[in-house]
Amino acid sequence: MPRPVEKLVSLTINGNEVQAPAGMMLADAALKYGDVEIPVFCYDAKIGPPVGACRMCLVEIEGIPKMQAGCSVAVTDGMVVHTDTPTVKAAQEAVLEFILINHPLDCPVCDKGGECPLQDNAFGWGGGLSRFIEPKRHFEKPLALSPLIAIDRERCILCYRCVRYSQEVAEDFQLVLEERGADTFVTTFDGHPYVAPFSGNIIELCPVGALTSRPYRFRARPWDIEQAGSVCTLCPAQCNVSFSVRDERVLRVLGRDHEGVDDGWLCDKGRFAYQAIHVDQRITAPMLRDGGQLRPVTWEIAIEAAANLLSHAGANTGALVGGETTNEEGVLLTHLMRETLGSHDLDSRPGGALELELLRALNAPTLQASVPDLQYAHAVLVLDCEPVDDAPILDLRLRKGVRHHGVKLLIGSSRPSALDERAAHSARFAPGCGEAFAAALGAELAGQPSASLAEAAGADPADVVALATELREAGEEVVILWGERLTAGPRRNEGARALLNLAQELGLDGQDGGGLLEIPSGTNSRGLREVGVLPNASIGLGDAATVGRDSEQIGEALAAGDLSAVILLHSDPLLDQPSSALWQRALGKASAVIAHAAFLTPAVLEHANVVFPAESYAEKEGTVVHPDSRVQRLRRSIARQGETRAEWALLAELAARIGNDPKALTCSMVSARIFEQVPFYAGLSLDLIGGVGIRWSEREAAASFPAAPAAPFTLDPPPAAASPNGLLRLGSFRSIWASPDVEASPALAFLHPRQRVELSPADAERLGIAHGENVTVASNGDSVTGLAHIRAAAPDGTVFLQTSIPEGSAALLEGPLVEVKRS
């Protein structure tokens, strides 16, 4: 449904005329437009419609004989509201006295103390005295609601916020209220711990200290900490966060509500993986391999060693750049590679480069959808990605769109999606066949035969017809949320063309409220491409003077001995690249591996000659670009831990030692250079980006985006999906928890995934495999073991394994078919 049009109404609040948008709840309107605070407990606009559970917000409205709940009454024209009459005052005092009857006097030991809405409301609106002398209700406390959340039921004021969040926002349906009256308590439906990708949000929602963070437990008081705003760079969603800092340590992460990015929520990875900043296993000093062992050395020795290795290798150096790299670091790396070493072999895309023309077409500002578009579009097609794993916070946005704005959600993916049950229609295709599926959908929309294409994709032709019908009938505002997987693999260019044709069929170019939105594989993938960290593009997606090798070719050239050194900037090819075997060979052969890493991930541990400590995201400064083209700014929030140094400065120093000083004295100097050199960033500045970022595609400078070829393209017929023939198709996915930061965070480590083998019940029965058994998956002599996970929704004939985990990753196997048996 398109965005609602705002209509203003006038009302009177405490004698003052106020204009507010029609339909807004009185409590919000009074605060925002009338500067009058109506105290609330249970209401929070971001959870959805009010329930009126606590009665804290009572106000008088002329013409209505009884007091009304200000959170549940929408403003209307001519409404006359009083919030400061003796009646209202008496009601507020009575409600607070009532709420405090059973509330323990825990403030000194309660983690919410000092930032507690109940304290604030009691202080601001309460009567100050209690007449209640009877014993209060008692529950066992403190208890763990999950390994991450502590629950204290005595403190709960039964506002329903957490339960409504679980039921209506995260839709994990785990939290419920049990019993009646004063005995009511919050618990999970089945009594199991509340473990979900977004569970941590209830800590911030709870208006009292009933739900508190266990990792933050008793760490600090609001007056002991400072809040430092920055951006979470653990996934492409780039949620806006605020670090609570005490004594140069990040003690917790809170959301910094941004409607255009995260809608006020965080996933549990973003909320708790900050712990990885302060663990002992983090690399905080430079290391050098000496006698087969990595040993800490001084900076001088490490820089000298790296500079020597690099000048020795010269143009025979390759570089892989990971998604957590900022634009500034990316630009300095291109300077080091192209201008200093004379090598053009650098890449930030795993699995090979895309034709530059296609990359431009996919990133064109006219085709760009924004994150809020997901919530207001007529239809959203989720294509070859799983939001909850790839950019978690978008999952909540899609659910909100479906629930509150009637968005028609359509899904085309190979692995069953968590969003399937909210979708108007979902279709499955064989892993790696996104291209054929997009082509089939495009053909069907164009009125051409699609059945053979659908079959080539391993999809049901009826599904393709149904999706196309839904898309055609939905309306013109359509967003395609697509995963980088669609344009990875050997047929990546054809995948991009099929997607662009599909967008063209739907008329998305120039469509307001619709377009394409990519979920890239790395946090700042988009920014890195735009500043030219690609083998075939220069800064600003211009043509590269010399086209270098892409990530796949770098691996091959290393293995063949054509390249001798490789820089791994925040990248571990054994975790990120599609083929582990290739990179095992490549790194084994490389004579110099220089890694910038925070943890000793497999490639670093086994192959790096020089390791530089990587800054954590709380220590970094620089800019990153959100997949919807929002340029955001990272601010340094804590002192760098240990001996860690600024990485942009290190890259500049390396180039200077080798003999070509980039003359970068501060990080903001590099940012300014980027804004000057990228034509479509023209006029940007760090001040303009500020705390909320700015979408470059909405600015005038976007007109200077390089021209791209227009769809439709003639498509090369896609090859048919491999038919299983007794074996199974191999599908892979990267779990939200597959990250070294999750593994290193003590509180989150229990979520760090081990390999599991997802099978359909029919396949499992055929192979005689039971849920939870150890199974081996093998292809071409390589094998991986994991626990069998039988999933009813899994499509027959396909097995899904995880990638990006240190042991037994799916990247060890060569598809498309694998053999699965009990081990």
């Binding site: 000194p108 030991v109 008793f218 008081r221 002991d224």
Partner: protein, 178 residues
């Protein structure tokens, strides 16, 4: 405006040109003698100096000297729960509290939390007593000790152990009616 020397008239008052007998004598010594009368008059009153540090003035019960942290007499647990309210109240920001959680095996205070670190930087403390007022558990009180000089600033950061220890009473307390 330029300075006009004519306007700055300095008036010089001189004594009589001739000394002149008794009047002259009085003018010369009279005032001195008057002053000496006060001086010799004081001799009668005896000595009032306190020979500190051998002698000390007793302090009033409400005197605000060095802080003390307290334990429950029966259980021996610390009264302080590490709530940090004293730190919030302190105008000179000289209290640092880092809390931790009590476990059944390691119980330090009576509540859920306890102060793992409790430090007062006495070189910054202004002895206002706000911390004592803020504490919801009477865990911290102002004692009577004021002899706190030290040769080293960092020795003036008093740790929890120092504050919990029974203070050496070096200062006599003023008795009722004293």
């Amino acid at each position: 405006m330029a300075w006009d020397p004519e306007k700055d008239v300095i008036e010089v008052i001189r004594g009589p040109q001739k000394a002149g007998g008794a009047g002259g004598l009085y003018r010369a010594f009279g005032e001195t003698l008057r002053g000496l009368k006060t001086t010799f008059g004081q001799l009668r009153m005896g000595v009032d100096t306190i020979q500190y540090p051998e002698q000390k003035i007793p302090v009033y019960p409400r005197f605000r000297g060095r802080h003390q942290l307290h334990r429950f007499e029966d259980t021996g647990l610390e009264k302080c729960v590490g709530c940090s309210l004293c730190a919030a109240a302190c105008p000179s920001d000289c209290i640092r509290v880092v809390a931790a959680e009590n476990t059944p095996e390691h119980r330090v205070s009576a509540g859920e939390r306890y102060a793992a670190v409790y430090e007062i930087n006495l070189s910054r403390c202004i002895f206002c007593g706000y911390c004592e007022v803020a504490c919801p558990f009477d865990a911290i009180t102002m004692g009577h000790e004021f002899e706190l000089s030290d040769a080293n600033r960092s020795d003036l950061i008093f740790t929890k152990e120092m504050l919990l220890a029974e203070p050496i009473e070096r200062t006599p307390l003023r008795a009722e009616g004293e």
